[in-house]
């Protein structure tokens, strides 16, 4: 039976973002990228930077790790990029992107956890990181299998994830005043709200 429900426009958006990123990079200073052979890494970096469906959950995870403490942050900056890379390699091999109709789940789940500031064990945080990394990495890998940057592109994305989650988690940990913590929770509620909007779009 054919599923005729409208799909979230994430995949086209992602593809568009990827195309724009590649075009931006390839139109400027390509001599460098050719002589160093690291053009695909930049393709991956620009892909991630231009894909809000990847970027926002990672931001939210960074906020969550920061709220939960140093131990969570330390482990997440290893687990999340590693899972992303692993999922990406599987996606590269498989070549077919998974359904995007579940893309709202990380937004709602992680955003909700940040907003409610729930106490979580390190294991739970790491499980969330691993799941998110594997899912999004798989999607990226499948997209890259079709577009070309391959493993180096995935390395660029994983590096981006690593830098972003490290900086966000450390930044939140340094926040001392109560109101700043509330600000972080508000940001989490926005992420959850975006997820709910995506959910509404999925079932509209």
């Amino acid at each position: 039976m054919t599923d005729n429900r409208p799909r979230l426009p994430l995949k086209p958006l992602s593809a568009l973002a990827f195309g724009v990123g590649v075009a931006l990079i390839s139109s400027q200073a390509e001599a460098h990228l050719v002589t160093t052979g690291l053009g695909p890494v930049y393709d991956g970096i620009s892909h991630f930077a231009l894909a809000p469906e990847d970027l926002i959950p990672v931001l939210a995870l960074g906020l969550l790790a920061g709220l939960r403490g140093k131990e969570h942050g330390r482990r997440m900056l290893v687990v999340l990029p590693a899972a992303w890379l692993l999922g990406g390699l599987v996606g590269l091999a498989a070549g077919a992107p998974a359904s995007t109709s579940v893309s709202w789940i990380p937004f709602v789940l992680i955003g909700g956890l940040v907003a409610t500031d729930v106490q979580l064990s390190v294991r739970v945080t790491m499980a969330l990181s691993a799941l998110l990394g594997l899912f999004h990495g798989y999607q990226n890998g499948a997209a890259m299998e079709q577009a070309g940057p391959g493993v180096l592109g995935l390395a660029g994305i994983a590096a981006n994830v690593f830098v972003l989650v490290t900086l966000i988690a450390a930044f939140v940990i340094t926040l001392r005043a109560d109101w700043t913590r509330i600000g972080v929770r508000v940001a989490g509620s926005w992420v959850a709200a975006i997820g709910l909007l995506l959910l509404g779009w999925t079932f509209r």
């Binding site: 400027q28 200073a29 001599a31 460098h32 160093t36 140093k70 490290t166 988690a169 940990i173």
Partner: protein, 341 residues
């Protein structure tokens, strides 16, 4: 009921589609296929022009592209014939740019063919205009101001360094060697002064280094830092570790020639060299400082998180600097010896 405006829009879209799907298939060939003119600004006052005209039964469209007075060709034009079209490509320079000037399509009045004109500026703006036989010319938009030109070179400078992994790795190598904030300031300042000097010298045409040996030397500068980082982390000392700013200055002179090649590759308008040089260099500095800030922020974040890396992982940045430097050195030397341009 379809309005004339909608008809015009539909025609424009169809023409655009036709130009994109322009295939040399005889069955589809007829005189109403559009000609196509693409003008891409590659530098202020410089343009890459692609002019494609349909060919029917070996006869090309009797339309001649007439660029504005004062436009002069840079180098030889490239012509490619295919069964269904003729493509001409050339680079041109025109003082004051194409903005506000008119391009004529001589002979278009006698045909039933349209010309699709696409214009792309350095600032990223695109425009598409459909020229009809009834009005066989196009007036291009007025030229960009000084501010827009300055912005273009500023962005080019930022992009040049941020996409230049070799320059970034050299800076990373320096950051891994310096041991105090004051030494960091001295080292980065020395690198900046040095590359600014040679960037200006090369851009103004006082000195040039051929690209192959220059690229090899830049790679060598990165390779040079690899063992120094290891030495520094082992607690040993050397001239580089004691005075990294001297090394930064010396190799910065080389990297400046590299930046100059990036600037001249974009193309320099003869009337705006000082502005272009200033803004490009400023862009390089902004990109460089942003990279330094990112590395320092990361180091601070590791401290906040009380991150303790295994010894092998700690060595990764040094290994990356050294091994990539070695790889590029060998690769570029091989290319140089093979006579690559």
């Amino acid at each position: 009921m379809t309005s004339p405006r909608n008809l015009l829009l539909a025609r424009l879209l169809l023409t655009l589609l036709a130009s994109l799907l322009f295939q040399p298939r005889g069955a589809l060939a007829h005189e109403s296929r559009p000609a196509y003119l693409q003008i891409s600004e590659i530098a202020p006052d410089r343009y890459d022009v692609i002019w494609r005209t349909p060919v029917l039964s070996g006869m090309r469209l009797p339309v001649v592209l007439k660029l504005p007075d004062g436009a002069r060709e840079l180098g030889e034009s490239f012509v490619q014939e295919s069964p269904g079209s003729l493509l001409e490509r050339q680079k041109i320079e025109i003082t004051g740019g194409l903005g506000g000037k008119r391009i004529d399509f001589v002979g278009l009045q006698a045909t039933i063919t349209d010309v699709l004109v696409r214009m792309a500026t350095l600032g990223g703006a695109h425009s598409t205009i459909l020229v009809h036989p009834a009005q066989s010319y196009v007036d291009l938009e007025a030229s960009r101001g000084l501010l827009a030109t300055a912005g273009t070179f500023l962005v080019s400078g930022v992009e040049h360094i941020l996409l230049g992994v070799d320059h970034l790795l050299f800076i990373l190598g320096l950051l891994l060697i310096v041991k105090s904030t004051w030494m960091l300031v001295k080292t980065i300042t020395a690198f900046t002064i040095a590359h600014s000097i040679t960037l200006a010298i090369a851009t103004l045409g006082y000195a040039q280094i051929p690209t192959p040996p220059l690229n090899a030397a830049i790679a060598l500068s990165i390779l040079f830092l690899g063992p120094e980082i290891i030495r520094s982390w082992r607690g040993e000392t050397s001239f580089t570790i004691r005075s990294p700013w001297v090394v930064a200055f010396a190799f910065g002179l080389l990297h400046g020639f590299g930046f100059a090649s990036g600037l001249t590759a974009i193309g320099l308008p003869s009337t705006e060299i000082p502005l272009a040089l200033l803004m490009f260099n400023l862009g390089v500095e902004i990109g460089q400082l942003a990279f330094v800030a990112l590395i320092l922020l990361l180091a601070r974040a590791f401290t906040v998180l009380e991150m303790k890396w295994p010894r092998q992982v700690e060595m990764l940045p040094a290994a990356a600097v050294g091994s990539l430097g070695a790889f590029w050195t060998i690769e570029r030397l091989a290319m140089m010896l093979a006579g690559a341009p």
